[in-house]
Symmetry: D2
């Protein structure tokens, strides 16, 4: 799905990310920023594991929300902002590896709501470990 934007979506996404304490706290790094699609990775450190040594559900939820939200921002010009209204994450496989790779993308752009999804990969070879479906609400900042 391609989206047209009349603003600098790369700068927009990076600017929003710079204001996001939590994303930086997770040491998230961008791979690619497109209009409606953002990808990146974060290291999977010991503090992010649960009792079985897998990536904790919470950390998978966090990167899912992050990349889906940044994808939503890539098609949302100022002064509008984006908030996660709801998100569902399905955990397909346990996450074992040294980093999480996330792809967030917009399924349907709306005036008030964006429908987005995210896919999270982990391990060597990379496997799809989680898939998220979310509604992002557009608000006037």
């Amino acid at each position: 799905m391609k989206f047209n934007t009349d603003f600098d979506y790369k700068e927009r996404v990076i600017q929003i990310f710079e204001q996001n304490h939590f994303g930086k706290h997770l040491h998230f790094k961008f791979h690619k920023i497109e209009a409606g699609r953002v990808s990146g990775e974060m290291p999977l450190i010991n503090e992010h594991l649960q009792q079985d040594g897998f990536a904790h559900g919470g950390i998978i939820l966090a990167i899912s929300d992050l990349v889906a939200g940044l994808a939503a921002y890539s098609i949302t010009p100022p002064p509008f902002r984006v908030l996660t209204a709801e998100i569902k994450v399905s955990h397909l496989r346990p996450g074992v590896g040294d980093k999480l790779i996330g792809y967030g993308y917009v399924l349907k752009r709306g005036k008030n709501l964006h429908f987005c999804e995210a896919e999270i990969f982990c391990g060597t070879p990379q496997k799809l470990i989680a898939k998220a479906s979310t509604i992002m609400a557009v608000t006037k900042g």
Copy 2:
């Protein structure tokens, strides 16, 4: 909803939590542990905020998953273990305050699946800021 258990559910929940790097990383502290219901709180520090100064969606997801999962463990004796199969979180209000308070509880216990929910509160006076609905899969460790 009350559940009967024939094992020490408090010890079980605490033991699982002690093995959970991520939960400890969040500085989660228990309020109460019952059979099928677990509550607690975590501080909302600067690293957990997003670009608008609200609690980041990811951190709300993390505590939702944590308390729902611990509630599931409170009715799941060893050698069985619990993994989040899916979770949906609705963000009702922005989270503003110095801590998040979470209640996780079991809606329906099953042999292979537990259906759980979580409610997250924030602020003074406390307001319900998020509600989660999740399926926890029971596995043989």
Copy 3:
């Protein structure tokens, strides 16, 4: 949760329902209409069963969506209208019985979005067979 309304919410809900071909097709009958809470029942006929003789998931989804949507309408005055943006339904138990009883209620009222839930009961004695969580988008008709 109680909600204040400055319009006749009962008339509003009944009027919307009268325009709803699908709800009437299901032979839904109201039990009670309050501001933010609607309940009712529909017969579980042979055409609504799946291959194991249980209520089909689709029919449980239908009544969940119906009562949650009517609850949303009970707090939404004209000219505003309500559309289901997303709904998640958890099937806790197989539905066996001669009717489905549904409770829809508003968890959080918003300007653009209402967060609602629904609980579906079936059998004698009545058991909770499904629980739904939904976002209803408010639109200007």
Copy 4:
């Protein structure tokens, strides 16, 4: 995603559908049956519309559940059966047209749980009006 099966998946899906009163009640017709992927259509009659003349959420939920469940059956040999544990449906656009076309597919096959999705199209030209994400529980019939 391709799946290997050692049973006649087409016969399996058709047999299950023949036992499904609700699916037949909706006048669902198959387009294609593959291992892990099932598509088909149902007419959008007046009884399936809501108060604005759009396809009712309940009917979109019904076909989503139906095609996702049949896709799950296409990779599940007897004596095992499949039940919808939970389903989330996002309504991207209002459904306007004379039929609904549904694609159900398996995202991840498991011993106890299948993760499936469904996409629902409507109108001329066909537009994606809904997307579903679901967990199907495998049970021993």
